[in-house]
Symmetry: C2
Subunit: 209 residues, 2 copies
Amino acid sequence: MKRQNVSDAVIRRLPRYYRYLDDLHGKGIVRISSSTLGEKMGITASQIRQDLSCFGEFGQQGYGYNVEELRTEIGHILGVDHHHRLIIVGVGNLGHALMQNFRFHDAGFILEAAFDVSPALAGTQVAGIPILDMAELERFVLEHRPDVAVLTVPHSAAQSTADRLIDLGIRGFWNFTNVELVSDVKNVRFEDVHFADSLLTLSYRITRR
Amino acid sequence: MKRQNVSDAVIRRLPRYYRYLDDLHGKGIVRISSSTLGEKMGITASQIRQDLSCFGEFGQQGYGYNVEELRTEIGHILGVDHHHRLIIVGVGNLGHALMQNFRFHDAGFILEAAFDVSPALAGTQVAGIPILDMAELERFVLEHRPDVAVLTVPHSAAQSTADRLIDLGIRGFWNFTNVELVSDVKNVRFEDVHFADSLLTLSYRITRR
């Protein structure tokens, strides 16, 4: 499968394809043309064909895509079948919300544990996931080798917590702290969730309509 | 100010520009070249110049941009100075987290109230914001005319709650429900926050490194 120079924009569209295909599959739809899929997603059929061509050959001229096959393929490209292991660091309201409501499993992740500095939380569970004291972080990470840490610590603790986790070998960060994290260590990936960017986009659209 | 045919990609980059410029301004930086700004943001100088040219003329050839001026201009384009009014509908963990931690004011929004079906929550406050019973929604919205509703209700209540709010005249939705909402009403804008899209992007990057 070729996969050179895939642009950031294409990578960011892949999860959307996956989401739509998963939904279509759930509705029992077996086959879809690029034009129908594009219509649903608000993009052009040629955009879809061009995006997918970065990863190989999908679909059959005139027959469209097999929904389940394409979903599985895109899931594979995204690493959904890798079963990456993940920990949450910081169990405030947001960490709590993710533990309780977010379907890590559907994204191919296994949530193993959460960590917090609060002695009141350590030893408790949320949705069956244990919350451990931050003092146990080193032992746990060296023993379980999670791939990803969800950072839901306060702003002020963001970079130091990331550094501590990078030292322990964690390379993937799902970053909700609103801090632009930095690291010189090779292969470290920060994926930032900036709520404000999304709200400002909405602001633009309701202001300029 | 010209503003025709601004692409979705450009609109989505504006909040990032605003965030970086706000940060630079906070650090006391007065002037920045498009190449230095581009380096910080991981995009090219020509991309920046091209994006901004959609909205008018900014900066001076050879002198770069005045940070504060450009920040204010982009804030204006985004509608940050509009002081849009907003309500939160659904005070579970996520609604709670937003009330407690999200700086609505920095994005130019005024959070006026939150609503929940739980009788235990009605009449209480979070971070100084009153939580009202869902039965008061009609009266409140007709009286206060908020511009935006943050939807943090469960999946199953998403579309019906959106419909109810659209009937009351609300046109902007910050949608955390993971449901693709639809409406035939003119000028309704849904801005969806899909956590999973972000996590799947990270999955791709750590799988394919």
